[in-house]
Amino acid sequence: MKSEFWKRWGVLVTLILIFPLTILLPKFGIINPYIDLVLKYIGINIILAISLNLVNGYMGEFSVGHAGFMAIGAYTASLLTVWLFPRQLGPFLFPIALLSGGIAAGIAGLGIAFPSFRTRGDYLAIVTLAFNMIIKSVLENIEAIGGPRGFMGMEKLTSLWWVYLVVILMVFLARNYVFSNFGRGVLSIREDEIASGLVSVNTRQVKVLTFVFSAFLAGVAGGLFAHELQFINPRSFTILKSTDMLVMVYLGGIGSLGGSILGATVFTVVMEGLRSVLQQIGISQEWRLVVAPLMLILLMIFRPSGIMGLREFRFLIPHKERPEAFAGHREQMQARKAAKEVLP
């Protein structure tokens, strides 16, 4: 009896129980500001990894310029909280800023969705990179928002519990997307785009939905990022950032939300861990930047499927889609089989 309840509601209950910890632990200094920061980065990176995984992993497309969407979200959210929203209301309007950043990024996502109708593979990769560069170039050229010097003045609105809530919400939405008609459409495009169209999948619609949703996620992450650093400039959002995202996705495993969560966590922890290790043995911090590309290369050659491969954590799979559910269905079908005519 108890385990039935736990199976259905276990995940939700655990998540609710953790929530107060995210407020109390930092507030009472039980976890120091550095750990607090790392946890926040893990959260932001989880959203980024899921965002990219939707396009590269689930859809099998080729985006290497997602940092551009993050930039749009970061700038949009920052401009709102600094210029438009009254300071005192900042903490309350924060979700609106994040949402707006996400929406702005989502609209930009259309800019990649349309080219993707006609281009695939390497060519699309270049399109996304060009897009990333253009966004960076445009941001550098708008003096009003600081140009190459960047934009600042944001309040530190990104608290651990905000990150916690936003991450849970984003994972929830992503999981709902993946385990739906549209998510299946995404997978079918990866498997065989032409066959997909030939079984009635509106591939254009799916591509638009996916690119926009993915960009939205990156934009929200950008907003969180901006209000943690309290300073953003175009150079934070180049191919280097996009590469970090790539590592997280491929490390964790394409086509797996759990993989992205894992990949983001492992990557963030390793990079931060390296920081102190290098300090201890007296090697300059610049060597840290060599690690991410190296990881990427080794992953591609030796384990392109990542940690999870294509598998998924059980708690992320909706109940009806799990293997146990099929057993239930089988019994149902047996009962109905008597009345049915079965083909040889």
């Binding site: 270049i126 170039s137 191919i239 610049e286 990427l296 290369i297 050659i301």
Partner: protein, 302 residues
């Protein structure tokens, strides 16, 4: 009028370097249908090879003829870069030849970034810009109101020579013909007793050597830094796409077009718009004419 001739000369200078690098991209794409994203950073490494060799030689031996040093530097840079390219190809790209395309492209990206960040972290190099020692006497001549420098002439002439040489190699030698054969149909070439692996390595080596010429020439005219691979490499890549990726003459033409974009954009727009113009050009091309000016269209069988 003189202003425009001056700018055309400048555009030719810049364009020559882009063309040389673009050739590397296009040759590898032609033979492997793969975009070697690391190529721009290989170019960057070549400039540092030129820097270290020339500095070292001039420090060791006194009173050497600078032209001699220049030629030696060129050769060393070409050889060293070619070696690097082949090592990368054998270690990283060869294992991935049967893997999905994504893996190779991402690996290439990774290698490029690795080279950049390695050079930044590596103490003897570091992020600060460097100058090559003066190998070509930098004298300016004034011809009818137009300033022509010896460096400019050297760049344009040497590039042209190298491009003609490469064109001849590809069209007239067995290796060149094998390269072109592989780009049309990989499976047939081994049947004629030619090792595909060797030809592929040769292609990488040639492309890198040519880029190294560009690197040395670039080094005698401008400063070098580890992040130049992104800027210049990307512009050269756009050149290759503009000309038609896979087509060598296209790469050369594309290089000069981008040279013109670089020099003439500041005439009409603020110079910070250069990147924007170049990348928008790329985007538009990719969407409406991905095969570029001289490229051949690819059909897909269902």
């Amino acid at each position: 009028m003189e202003f425009y001739i001056q700018q055309i000369l400048n555009a030719l200078q810049v364009g020559s370097v882009y063309a040389l690098i673009a050739l590397g991209y296009t040759m590898v794409y032609g033979i492997l249908a793969m975009i070697n994203f690391a190529h721009g950073d290989i170019f960057m490494v070549s400039t540092y090879l030129a820097f270290f060799f020339s500095t070292m030689i001039l420090g060791l031996v006194n009173g050497l003829n600078p032209i001699l040093v220049f030629v030696l530097t060129l050769l060393v840079a070409m050889f060293g870069t070619a070696l690097l390219a082949v090592v990368i190809e054998r270690l990283a790209y060869k294992p991935l030849r049967t893997a999905p395309r994504m893996s190779a492209v991402i690996t290439a990206l990774g290698i490029g970034l690795f080279l950049e960040n390695f050079m930044v972290a590596f103490k003897p190099v570091g992020p600060a810009p460097r100058f090559l020692p003066p190998l070509i006497p930098a004298t300016n001549y004034n011809i009818g109101g137009v300033t022509v420098s010896t460096i400019q002439i050297v760049i344009i002439v040497v590039s042209a020579l190298v491009m003609i040489l490469l064109d001849t190699i590809v069209r007239r030698t067995m290796t060149g013909m094998a390269m072109r054969a592989i780009s049309w149909d990989k499976s047939v070439v081994p049947l004629m007793g030619i090792s595909v692996d060797r030809i592929i390595s040769m292609t990488f080596a040639l492309g890198a050597a040519v880029a190294a010429v560009g690197g040395t020439l670039y080094g005698i005219a401008y400063t070098i830094d580890p992040y130049m691979g992104i800027r210049i490499g990307w512009w050269a890549f756009i050149s290759a796409v503009v000309g038609g990726i896979g087509n060598m003459r296209g790469a050369m033409i594309g290089g000069f077009i981008l040279g013109f974009v670089e020099i003439f954009t500041p005439v009409f727009l603020p110079s910070t718009y250069r990147d924007f113009v170049a990348f928008s050009l790329l985007l538009i091309l990719l969407i409406f004419r991905p095969t570029g000016i001289l490229g051949r269209p690819m059909a897909q069988k269902v």
